[in-house]
Amino acid sequence: MANSFTIALKLDDLAAVRGYRTLFEGMSLALDPGSLLELRGLNGAGKSTFLRILAGLTRPAAGKIDWLCASEDHAFRHFLGHLDAIKPQETVRQQAMFWASFLGVADSRHSAREALKVVGLANRADVPGRGLSAGQRRRLALTRLVMAPRAVWLLDEPLAALDADGQTMVRDLIKDHRKQGGLVIAAMHGEGFENAQILDMGEFTPRQSAVTDEVA
């Protein structure tokens, strides 16, 4: 099902503020279709905020974000944050099916079953959310990416909490997605993907600017 995406991203002088702290400023970059951007930086450098801005959840303090994509359809992104959006009282299959139909997948039952196989939760379909380990919760969250093809993947430490074959599964998912021309922007520590663009948040943290009069 290789449906190819035509999506590119252009950031122009992006800046983000949390409370009064400017996390990063003056960030400009461009991503062509099929590229992978790996975010590096210390904790609190703004990696998660950067992903939330691209996901349209957080409002940037300054700068422009241009998604150059063919379809004007608003739903072209997947956001996988630290939190896995798992409901403790619902079973794995129910949650996968909910996300399938919510994200507009045609046959939610079938695609949910397929996705659970891909992420390796097929034999835990009837386990309620509270019965899952951190790794299994992360795998359930990954089913969203598998079921609904979306051009842009925004992943916050996707490999965290996953065991070895879980990580290889995610690597393959990312490789396939890039082959289809999709964009992957992920906060990852030290994973070697070939021809990945590295973005070190440290370059954009503000130098100790003098006392400014402006009110953040």
Binding site: A55, F79, G81, L83, K87, Q89, E90, Q94, S101, F102
Partner: protein, 222 residues
């Protein structure tokens, strides 16, 4: 392909019911508070008939406030709101789906036992239909106005009190019209105008509430 908002509505309904008696808690509170009244005021029928309608509506308002704190906060804390927001669904639709599901799960049962409490508080039995109508429209107004407070206080740890403080003044119109409709019917007067106004409050809340709650959710996610 089902509309996302409808899908979310049915999921919320299932979650609200399967939350282990979650829906029954407000009903328990409502019945408990209403039965405390005779213990406080004494069993004299005419006294209870005089105070009954007012008590019914005040406790209905407070019972409607109970489920508000977990309405949006649960989804904010477990990341569901992030995923819903990033998937491009509109916030107003989300607020509408979640609030109406929670109303069906808790608000409707509240309205259904209102007539029972009405009879317990010596209200005339014939008026049970009107009481149900008042309770339905009243709880609708209380839920959809309370949802605005719930969305505003979603990011706050113990937001319950904040929701009560911000929502209670806005409960004034629905309380006035609902309670006076109940008084009218208990005294055999014409209750039409008051009931219509109470229903108008409910419809306004259902129409405008999710818009404000959606904007507040977007702010909470920022």
């Amino acid at each position: 392909m089902a509309n996302p908002v409808v899908t979310l509505f049915f999921r919320e309904l299932r979650l609200a019911w399967s939350g282990g008696g979650g829906a029954a808690l407000p009903v328990g509170f409502y019945a408990g508070a209403a039965t405390l009244t005779p213990l406080a005021l004494g069993p004299a029928p005419d006294l209870l008939r005089a105070a009954g309608p007012g008590i019914l509506f005040i406790t209905l308002a407070l019972a409607s406030l109970l489920p508000m704190e977990r309405l949006f906060q649960a989804d904010l804390e477990d990341g569901t709101l992030d995923a819903l927001g990033a998937s491009g669904a509109n916030y107003t639709g989300m607020a509408l789906a979640k609030t109406s599901a929670h109303w069906l799960a808790s608000g409707l049962p509240l309205s259904l036992i209102a007539p029972v409490l009405w009879v317990m508080l010596q209200g005339p039995g014939a008026a049970v239909g009107v009481v149900l109508a008042c309770a339905l429209s009243g709880s609708l107004a209380f839920f959809f106005i309370g949802a605005i407070g719930a969305a505003l206080a979603a990011g706050v740890r113990r937001g319950g009190l904040l929701i009560a403080l911000t929502a209670l003044p806005l409960y004034a119109p629905a309380t006035i019209f609902g309670a006076s409709a109940l008084y009218a019917v208990s005294e055999g007067r014409d209750f039409g105008q008051a009931l219509n106004l109470c229903m108008a409050c409910a419809m306004a809340a259902v129409a405008l509430g999710p818009f404000a709650a959606g904007a507040a959710l977007k702010t909470a996610l920022d």
